[in-house]
Symmetry: C2
Subunit: 328 residues, 2 copies
């Protein structure tokens, strides 16, 4: 879970059209242009036409590489030399580590001691330094500040960062380019980097399109915050979607409000069922945090009847020894 310590947040601004275009150019040599796949079977089930943008097939197995790559390669040479620091127990840490390896600069990832060993391995596998800390957000922030002071490195927040949001937006830019005429673009929402990037890309390339987030019922702060108009913080979460437990960041919240994005909810049971449909019919490995988007659509299928929906499958990193339909 990322730090909400204001001292760690970069200057907030809404990325411009130029910044989105620059992000697309900047990451093109490193990121994969992921395929868009279809399933007639899932379309029949959903009663609409779904175009799946497969970010589980992105480098590192998640869209996170786009934002991290853009942020890391956007640094000026003298800044870059001092390296990059981030906090993450998930895909963002590994993505920053990979991007720094590609640029040849040092990366430090502050990781709570509770993080699964498999995630640590992914981060260390890319040559990053892992700094363990206690689980509390205060300790994570203190550790991060200490590392920043020691190294003079740059901080790259997982989502509340305009460079990261511009990077995530490139997934939707590619989707809109490949599939003209979409009615809706849909993506999971947690901190909000992916969905706010989608909203900005849609404003730029397909202004009439609806932007819809998907969130677990047990971590519905984005849904409730956008409905009430006030960002929600400090709520406990209860969901198996381990990538969706962060709170919507201030900058993504602002972008999503401006773009009139909405959020639909799905139960964890529906998410597991949707994940199984994706394995069975798209032949893709996705994590629960990605499948939540299909689950939310299926739970509200009347709202999508006959439409063309672009859906971002956000990632595919999970423990295959403990698939949720085999473990209960």
């Amino acid at each position: 879970m990322p730090g909400q310590d204001p001292a760690l947040l970069p200057p907030e601004h809404v990325p411009s059209a130029e910044e989105l275009a620059a992000a697309a150019r900047r990451i093109a040599p490193y990121a994969r242009r992921t395929p868009v796949l279809r399933s007639e079977w899932i379309d029949a089930l959903a009663g609409c036409h779904i175009h799946f943008k497969c970010e589980n097939l992105q480098r590192g197995g998640a869209f996170k590489f786009r934002g991290a790559c853009n942020a890391v390669f956007a640094l000026e040479a003298d800044q870059a030399r001092r390296g990059v620091v981030t906090q993450s127990s998930g895909n963002h840490g590994a993505a920053v580590a990979l991007a720094c390896r590609l640029r040849g600069i040092p990366a430090t990832v502050v990781v709570p001691r509770s993080a699964p060993r498999i995630k640590l391995k992914a981060i260390e596998g890319h040559g990053a330094r892992v700094v363990p800390c206690a689980v509390s957000q205060a300790d994570r922030d203190a550790t991060t500040r200490r590392v920043l002071e020691e190294t003079g490195a740059s901080y790259v927040h997982p989502f509340n960062d305009s460079r990261v949001i511009a990077g995530q937006a490139t997934a939707t830019l590619e989707l809109l380019e490949e599939v003209p005429g979409l009615d809706v673009v849909m993506a999971p929402v947690s901190g909000g980097g992916l969905l706010s990037g989608a909203a900005l890309a849609a404003r730029l390339r397909a202004p009439g399109i609806r932007v819809v987030g998907a969130e677990p019922e047990g971590a519905r702060d984005a849904h409730d915050g956008l409905v009430s108009g006030t960002r929600i913080t400090g709520r406990p979460t209860d969901t198996l979607c381990d990538g969706l437990r962060a709170e919507l960041g201030p900058l993504p919240f602002r972008i999503l409000r401006e773009q009139q994005a909405s959020v639909l909810l799905a139960s964890d049971a529906a998410t597991v069922a949707a994940m199984r449909q994706i394995f069975d019919h798209l032949k893709l490995v996705v994590e629960p945090s990605a499948a939540v988007a299909l689950a939310a659509l299926l739970a509200h299928r009347d709202a999508f009847a006959g439409l063309h929906v672009g859906m971002i499958l956000s990632g595919g990193n999970l423990d295959l020894d403990a698939l949720p339909w085999t473990t209960g």
Copy 2:
């Protein structure tokens, strides 16, 4: 398992360059141009550069749709009207059923009573008539002959058919077009439609390339037949690769000999491990019969050091409630 009754075999001829090009044009409106994916992790493990052609993402979840589609759409209108008959307990039956539905003509699939219900559902789901028969090859052939006499339909063999082989060749044509400079093209071999198609595509587009099949140790008739120069029939098989239990057909055998293709073996345990690598690192659902190619490469990695290998992931149809690493 397909019939070996000579009366059921179509005239054997090696498809020409023109027939391959015609197949590519014929199936283009219906088949997917599947993506080619990479994994740095698997490349590091293998010590070479593997370009995975993802036929698990093909319609119907397997390359089989290419050959079936070409055979069905190659029929003259008056022949086509009387429909198509095949024998299959696997992916070919569903592929013929789907191709016939797309052309709007009747399909009949003769299926042994031992076939898993999930396969029957896939065939019936495409609107084909399923005719059950006893398990023996003699009964399958007799039932097929009876249906052919009753209907006047055309028989489409799963692999010993030049239209089917030309269709399967299109997977390799696309791969060679997308990835110039490959040293090797590798695919699983059973009846031999996919591998002989690969050999013909390679002869046409990349004459210097090595063509390598992969086969389970417990169903090694293609390996032994190509080494000895005599096609092997009537051997029992013992492998969990349920798509690789057919015998190499006479026409594929002839093509593979002419093209000097070789076959490498893999144990089922190595195939399960390779399948898990593909799930974990490519984020793709593949069946054991597809993973055998990676397993065979890894078992002989010295032979591939530093090379660029195109590998056809042949299919992704399996029961996800019984993944081999969870069921032991």
